[in-house]
């Protein structure tokens, strides 16, 4: 496993420094590292990675609907070692609230708004969590990327239109 030196070093360093906050780590392959943390601890981990591993670049934030919970993945890129680090955490779907990271990495602002729009996660402390992507007349409280939102409505419409044609 000599080719995974940078990755292992990163994982061990993070574990040593923030041991109690790390739930789980995974080295998937070269340049792909996943770190699982509890919601709330992600800020400390990201801050540490930014300071010590030059991970000032956040590629995006992915939100995944797991059913009960919503999983958030912060895809960072650590320029020291050139590793893509993904910090993952979960928030309950019934009360999806999490601390923002905009003050640590300002580039994350649009990604947080996007996740807020499409999955309804509230980022506490975000300066302007307004609608970004969905149309102005989109109903409140409906989030297209949650599993309960289905595309069926449109399919009914399609049949009707075919009939007209």
């Amino acid at each position: 496993m000599s080719e995974l030196k940078a990755e292992q070093e990163l994982v061990e360093d993070v574990k040593k420094q923030l041991g109690d906050k790390i739930v789980d780590t995974k080295i998937q392959r070269a340049k792909r590292v996943y770190i699982r943390v509890k919601a709330g601890d992600h800020r400390d981990v990201i801050k540490y990675l930014k300071e010590k591993w030059d991970a000032y670049h956040v590629s995006t934030i992915t939100g995944v609907d797991l059913g009960e919970n919503i999983e958030l993945l912060y895809h960072l890129f650590a320029y020291r070692g050139n590793v893509t680090v993904t910090v993952r955490t979960e928030v309950p779907k019934s009360d999806p609230k999490i601390q923002t990271i905009v003050d640590i990495i300002p580039g994350a602002t649009l990604y947080e708004r996007e996740v807020h729009d499409l999955l309804g996660v509230v980022f506490e402390g975000h300066p302007e969590l307004e609608r970004l992507i969905l149309p102005d007349d989109w109903p409140e409280g409906v989030y297209p990327l949650r599993k309960e939102y289905k595309l069926e409505v449109e399919e009914v419409e399609e049949v009707k239109e075919e009939g007209e044609a």
């Binding site: 998937q28 392959r29 340049k31 792909r32 000032y56 670049h57 956040v58 590629s59 995006t60 992915t62 995944v64 609907d65 993945l73 895809h75 890129f77 320029y79 050139n82 893509t84 993904t86 990495i105 300002p106 580039g107 994350a108 602002t109 649009l110 990604y111 996007e114 499409l118 302007e128 307004e130 609608r131 970004l132 992507i133 969905l134 149309p135 297209p144 990327l145 939102y149 595309l151």
Partner: protein, 404 residues
């Protein structure tokens, strides 16, 4: 108390080039832009949700249509991603051909952009010449893939078509021609007064800000940030190719034009290497429709910057979740930064210069912090305003710009 005046204009005439509607709210203090708030979504088609209802095979072609100009980058990224999640590996010849398409696409995209930039400053003849020469790349792409724009070349497990020796010969010839022409355009851009008058010291994005706001692609590289997924996180055949990451540190519009022209030259170099050293063997391996449970991240340097895809598979034929982060979104905060502190009159030029995907601002909302007056402008109105304003304030601006 506060006079509130809003007018909306029907979005009239569409600019012939690349319109992707977007909305910005500007907060201005007199003539200076204090803050910028973007609002996107006019082009939101719900691709991520739609992906969940498509099989992996169908997804190949949906993902291609996120952007018609960087279609191969998205599709290749997707194919790479699913391959990793499914645990299969494309054969070397397939990987080389995939890389070839990526680089050809970069040439076509950058040339297109350079042409559009000339068009924006009213240089129609040069626009016509660039687009005429761009047709040569389109011909190679059509020969290799069977279509001019959405190539549908990648598949999960490799590429779908092989190249014949005649195609390789033709492509090499066309590349020679393109190299000569591109060098000429670089010279014109560096020397022609009317082009430089519109680009030098306009729309500054400092290196620090580019870093802070996670700028990607040519925008970041024109601000002196040496980032390139092809070098930092090699994929495809890039770790076997010899290329330079083009960086300019003047941080203005000229740098952005020159970065793209230089990247075309680098891409031509890479295409030659690929065409001359094509490994032999099959171009694809079989993919069995289903992907085991798991996840994967794939990154590609699209013509506009870093493109990230994330897949979460659940063992069926369809993905559980597919996430795409296209480069333009990543650059929006940087664009806002370029505008902040600048003059309102600079807005259209800066937009046009960054990236054609943003040059198409539809409606902008302005709020003056002093009077709380609100109004709305289309891009066209803004440009008209820009002319008027420049007429009045040209001297101060010029003095200020040339100070440093």
């Amino acid at each position: 108390m506060s006079e509130e005046r809003m007018f909306r204009i029907p979005v009239g005439p569409q600019h012939p080039a690349l319109k992707e509607p977007i909305n910005f709210t500007f907060i201005v203090d007199g003539e200076r832009v204090v803050d910028v708030k973007p609002r996107i979504g006019y082009n939101h088609r719900g691709i991520e949700k739609l992906m969940e209802s498509k099989t992996y095979i169908q997804g190949l072609y949906l993902i291609e249509r996120i952007c018609g100009i960087c279609s191969a980058a998205h599709q290749g990224c997707y194919a790479q991603n699913i391959e990793e999640a499914a645990g299969i590996e494309a054969p070397p010849r397939g990987v080389y051909l995939r890389t070839l398409i990526w680089e050809l696409e970069r040439i076509h995209s950058h040339l297109l952009w350079v042409g559009v930039a000339y068009h924006e400053i009213g240089f129609d003849t040069l626009f016509m010449y660039v687009w005429r020469d761009r047709e040569r790349v389109m011909d190679i792409l059509e020969m290799i893939s069977g279509n001019r724009v959405n190539y549908a070349m990648n598949t999960i497990g490799g590429v779908r078509r092989d190249v014949t020796p005649e195609i390789v010969d033709n492509a090499l010839k066309a590349l020679d021609y393109l190299e000569e022409r591109t060098k000429y355009y670089k010279k014109v851009t560096e020397e022609d007064d009317s082009i430089l008058a519109r680009t030098v010291n306009v729309g500054i994005l400092k290196t620090e800000d580019a870093k802070r706001l996670c700028a990607v692609g040519p925008t970041a590289r024109a601000s002196g940030l040496k980032v390139d997924v092809r070098r930092d996180d090699p994929y495809g055949a890039y770790d076997e190719l010899d290329f330079d990451v083009v960086v300019y540190d003047t941080c203005d519009l000229t740098a952005r034009v020159l970065v793209r022209i230089d990247e075309v030259l680098e891409s031509i170099k890479m295409c030659r290497q690929i065409l001359q050293n094509l490994p032999s063997g099959p171009v694809r391996v079989k993919f069995k429709r289903k992907v085991p449970e798991g996840e994967s991240i794939s990154k590609v340097e699209a013509p506009r910057g870093e493109d990230l895809h994330y897949v979460k598979a659940n063992g069926t034929e369809k993905p559980e979740r597919y996430k795409v982060r296209a480069p333009t979104l990543a650059n929006i905060p940087s664009v806002c930064e370029m505008l902040k502190g600048g003059y309102i009159a600079d807005i259209p030029i800066v937009f046009a210069g960054i990236d054609p995907c943003i040059a198409c601002t539809d409606r902008m909302l302005f709020i003056d912090v002093n009077t709380e007056r609100k109004w709305m402008w289309t891009e066209e109105e803004l440009r008209m305003y820009a002319r008027k304003w420049y007429k009045k304030h040209l001297k101060e601006v010029v003095r200020e710009r040339w100070k440093c």
